[in-house]
């Protein structure tokens, strides 16, 4: 299968890339790793008249410790994030998760920004970044705006990114929270994932699930329970998680019935919470 023909652009700067997006809008796609875009184009699910190649813009792949934030360029590949000493030191769960995405070929080409912007419902990084209170920086010819990772993805393959905007970097708040991401994988695909980010004084507790509904989702009753009672008993946690997951819109699909996926989602959420609690007690 071949992608349908397109005009290829290789902008020399981020400014030039954003100007091309402004010019072509919906007719253009940013080309990052291509691991999802080219698949969609080969299968005929997506067609663009213009591809804007971002692979040769090194400023988009910088990873830096900014003190309050860990800043990751949108074009950093999963393999680069997994191997980066700063990420491994400051946010080991993010490095570990990026090191487990798909297979080594996908990790060496696929980018964190592409993963977020494609918004594939079974992707893990979007839920982890939402749970970490990450902020996504989108740039257009009119400037930059910041969007919380928690509200970036709005549905399957849907985000708040406008056609003329480029995701340039992800700023992740550094905190004393313990962070755990737990997931269950069938073959190469996640059927349920969950992040717990717990235990920093003065910061809200975060529990999100990913790969479960059409987009990452918080578990609000569980978060409130843990905010009020960090040591809440297992039985009450189980009830809160179960209620939160029952409220999510989960469909039967070829991998799992909705009921089974709810069971898996509750299981990984409780594992993530338990993992954080163990670390907090050490």
């Amino acid at each position: 299968m071949y992608p349908s023909p397109f005009t290829y652009h290789r902008p020399a700067s981020v400014e030039a890339a954003v100007a091309l997006l402004a010019e072509f809008g919906d007719d253009a796609a940013p080309y990052a790793g291509g691991t999802e875009l080219l698949l969609a184009m080969k299968m005929g699910f997506a067609q663009y008249d213009h591809l804007i190649d971002l692979k040769r813009l090194p400023t988009l792949r910088t990873i830096a410790n900014e003190g309050e934030f860990l800043s990751i360029g949108a074009l950093a590949t999963h393999a680069e994030i997994a191997a980066d000493p700063t990420v491994r030191d400051l946010l080991p769960p993010l490095a570990a998760l990026c090191g487990e995405v798909a297979n080594p070929r996908v990790r060496s080409s696929g980018t964190i920004g592409g993963n977020l912007c494609f918004a594939e419902p079974r992707a893990d990084p979007p839920a982890l970044l939402a749970g970490l209170d990450a902020t996504l920086i989108l740039r257009s010819t009119s400037g930059e705006r910041a969007v919380p990772a928690a509200s970036f993805i709005t549905g399957a393959l849907e985000t708040v990114r406008a056609a003329d905007e480029l995701l340039v970097r992800i700023d992740i708040l550094l905190s004393e929270r313990r962070v755990r991401y737990e997931r269950i994988v069938f073959g190469h695909r996640t059927v349920a994932g969950a992040v717990a980010a717990l235990g920093a004084p003065g910061q809200p507790e975060r529990i999100w699930v990913g790969g479960v509904a059409t987009c990452p989702a918080p578990l609000p009753l569980t978060q409130s329970l843990l905010d009020a009672e960090p040591g809440a008993a297992d039985a009450r946690l189980h009830d809160a998680v179960t209620q939160d997951i029952a409220a999510l819109d989960i469909a039967d699909d070829e991998e799992a019935s909705a009921d089974y996926r709810r069971h898996l989602a509750a299981t990984v959420a409780l594992r993530a919470i338990a993992g954080c609690r163990e670390e907090l007690q050490r």
């Binding site: 299968m1 071949y2 992608p3 349908s4 023909p5 397109f6 005009t7 290829y8 652009h9 290789r10 080309y31 291509g34 691991t35 080219l38 698949l39 080969k42 591809l51 190649d53 692979k55 393999a79 798909a102 297979n103 080594p104 070929r105 996908v106 060496s108 080409s109 190469h188």
Partner: protein, 155 residues
Amino acid sequence: MTASLDLTFTLNGDAKTARVAPNTLLIDFLREACQLRGTKRSCDMQICGACTVLVDDRPVSSCTTLAADIDGAVVTTIEGLGGPDGLDPVQQAFLDHNALQCGFCTPGFILSVKALLHANPAPSHEEIVEHLNGNLCRCTGYHKIIDAVESLVRP
């Protein structure tokens, strides 16, 4: 902006230039324009690993990579390994351990192993298994392939 694209690259040690349509996939460029048929197309969706080639020593699925991406890069296909003086050590290890039967997946496996050993010259058993879970073989049951890699790491 361009409707056709001029590429300059190194392929299996030789400097090359080529002109391609922008929507040309790397696998088609290698198999058709370059007539290098060792790179195999199978799943066409980055799962099976049969189309694995190295671009600047990184493993990529050539089925889901644009030919445009190799502009300025060093590309290695299975035809670039070994030579008149003998097989590449990875090829020899596969031969010595009977790590292939039909051979369809073998070029992809061997290039995946080259990439692994380039990035991590002394992988653990678990790292070998994890790395190769992105390559599918329908004949050998994997044990002989993993034995072949082990023989290179822990002779």
